[in-house]
């Protein structure tokens, strides 16, 4: 709060104004008034040449360069003014790119985030059903141990849609040196379809399955006006599994996709060994039968032969089962009804509902971009404001210092 002027000071200041204005001054302040007039008369006047030059400049609107300008303003202002704004803009752009890169694009992330992982092992489908023996259908302890070993050795990782499980590296712990391996493969697929397309897509699933040489093991389709669902258990020839997955994926929007591969080579070898062992025993029994001398001995050997023959049949059935597991893959397809679902290939029409959905997504993206830009601009603006205030304060300080330094 400034102190008010004292009456004497106010009086003397008023006398100064009166003297400058040519008004009479109180007698006791006449000397002050005379001093004011003398100071006023001491003022410097510009030369006529300078006045004429400046008048011409003003008339031209300072359109041409004037060497006198070198005295105008601090030099740093020109330097800062020329690159400060571009530098701030470039910094903002770089930060925006970094933020976008770090946060990542949501496009395609839905499928990746919902893809289920699957066990996978050697996945060479060609000839994977080779060399299966025929053991008893009941699982032997050794077979169970082998399966458990396979399960323990299997690994899981997310599979993006359309990917194929890679083959194991040579010399992996799973490898037993066999060139041709038996691999059981399975897959699951969840598709989003429009409710009105549920029946059509169900029919297309069966059509694709038949076309590729497979069959529908089980299916359940529930279609209603407001939604519906469908589940299919398909058996697809393993060599056509990839083609089947690709064809099925085109029937709707893929919501989840998983593939699993399991090495059953040990089970195939075990089944074949059972058949081979039973055959060897039967041949031995046949030889014993030819050398039998008594009726009792003969009957005993024949009973044993009947048993061994049944063993062989069971072992052959086991081999066929293992072959089937390798030759046909199980594909589980789940259809879910979604209003925004459906493959574009399925229905190319673009309805007002689709347009509304697209507009909503566009607004969401725009709002996100605006939010990111705001989050970026706000601190930058505060920084710029603080910098501007600091620079202004420093400039004022420098000017005051210049006044003191004279």
């Amino acid at each position: 709060m400034p102190d008010p002027l004292s009456p004497d000071v106010e009086r003397e200041l008023a006398a100064l104004d009166d003297a400058l204005a040519g008004r009479p001054v109180a007698p006791d302040l006449a000397e002050l008034g005379e001093l004011a007039r003398l100071v006023r008369d001491d003022r410097a006047e510009p030369s006529g040449a300078f006045g004429a030059t400046l008048d011409a400049e003003v008339k031209r609107g300072f359109s041409q360069g004037d060497p006198r300008r070198r005295a105008s303003g601090p030099r740093w202002r020109k330097g800062w003014g020329t690159w400060l704004t571009p530098a701030l803009g470039a910094t903002a752009a770089v930060l925006l790119i970094v933020i976008v890169a770090v946060t990542g694009s949501p496009t395609g992330g839905d499928e990746a985030s919902t893809s289920a992982g699957g066990d996978q092992s050697a996945s060479n489908a060609a000839g994977q059903e080779s060399g299966a023996a025929a053991p008893e259908p009941g699982r032997s302890p050794g077979e169970g141990a082998t399966a458990a070993q396979d399960d323990a050795a299997s690994f899981a990782e997310p599979l993006p849609p359309g990917s194929v499980p890679p083959a194991p590296a040579p010399g992996s712990p799973r490898s037993d040196g066999r060139v041709r391996r038996a691999v059981e493969r399975s897959a699951s697929l969840t598709l989003a379809v429009r409710p009105r397309d549920m029946d059509a897509v169900s029919a297309r699933v069966q059509e694709v399955t038949r076309r590729l040489g497979g069959f529908v093991a089980a299916s359940t389709v529930d279609s209603s006006a407001g939604g519906g669902s469908g589940t299919f258990e398909l058996r697809i020839p393993t060599r056509e599994l990839d083609a089947a997955m690709a064809a099925l994926a085109r029937l709707g929007q893929v919501r989840e996709r998983a593939q699993r591969a399991r090495d059953i080579t040990a089970q195939a070898v075990s089944a074949r060994s059972l058949v081979s062992d039973a055959r060897t025993e039967r041949e031995s029994l046949l030889e014993q039968l030819g050398e039998a001398d008594t009726v009792r001995e003969t009957e005993s050997i024949r009973a044993r032969l009947r048993f061994v023959s049944r063993e062989i049949e069971r072992a052959r059935a086991g081999v066929r089962r293992v072959r089937n597991r390798a030759a046909f893959s199980t594909v589980g397809v789940t259809l879910v009804a979604e209003h925004g679902g459906g493959a574009e290939e399925e229905d190319g029409t673009w309805t007002p509902g689709d347009a509304a959905g697209d507009a909503l997504r566009l607004l969401e993206v725009a709002a996100g971009v605006a939010l990111v830009a705001l989050a970026l601009a706000l601190p930058l603006s505060l920084l710029a404001l603080a910098a501007a205030l600091a620079m202004r304060w420093m400039r004022r300080r420098r000017r005051d210092h210049a006044l003191e330094a004279v």
Partner: protein
């Protein structure tokens, strides 16, 4: 029958009036401000710099800067003269800061002995004494003297230019005048 004229007749001459050039800024008539303040700005800058050549450079720069920034003038912040002299002050201080020697190397105090006392009139002698006394003032006092007596600003405008309150400007001005009176008495 003569035709009846409905328009003015008998006007011997056509009056042509010069239309003043309107400034691009609706609130600021730059040319009028220039005409009214050119010499004042020069006088103020010369008082501050005490260098006639430098004062010309700075004065030219002041009006160029004011011309380019005239759209930024807002009447609510003060008078046109206060705005112009604010620019002048900044330009003069920037020049002082750039040179850091302007005042020291500028015009020397008038040599009272150079004026022949016998031949000089009393008024001339007094002016020389005042000129010499001004040179003994500090830059801040000299700036206030320049704004008040050479530029013709009132106390409110001086306060706006210097950035202090009106009463503070009055106090500083009174203090500067007191020092000037003492300097004149000792001259």
């Amino acid at each position: 029958m003569p035709s009846r004229l409905s328009r003015s007749t008998g006007v011997p001459t056509t009056v042509i009036a010069r239309v003043p050039i309107r400034s691009s800024s609706p609130g600021l008539d730059f040319e009028a401000l220039y005409r009214a303040a050119r010499d004042d700005v020069y006088a103020y800058v010369a008082t501050l710099l005490r260098d006639p050549a430098g004062a010309e450079d700075v004065t030219a720069a002041v009006f160029e800067r004011a011309y380019r920034k005239q759209r930024t003038y807002k009447a609510s912040r003060g008078s046109e003269r206060a705005w112009l002299f604010g620019i002048a002050r900044n330009a003069a201080l920037d020049e002082l800061r750039r040179r850091k020697r302007a005042a020291a190397l500028a015009a020397e105090p008038a040599d009272l002995e150079a004026a022949p006392p016998e031949d000089a009139a009393d008024a001339a002698l007094q002016r020389a004494a005042v000129h010499a006394a001004l040179a003994t003032l500090g830059p801040r006092e000299r700036e206030l003297i320049g704004l008040k007596f050479h530029a013709g600003l009132d106390n409110a405008e001086i306060a706006a230019v210097v950035g202090v309150s009106v009463s503070n400007a009055g106090t500083q001005l009174h203090r500067a005048m007191t020092k000037l009176r003492e300097a004149v008495e000792h001259a």
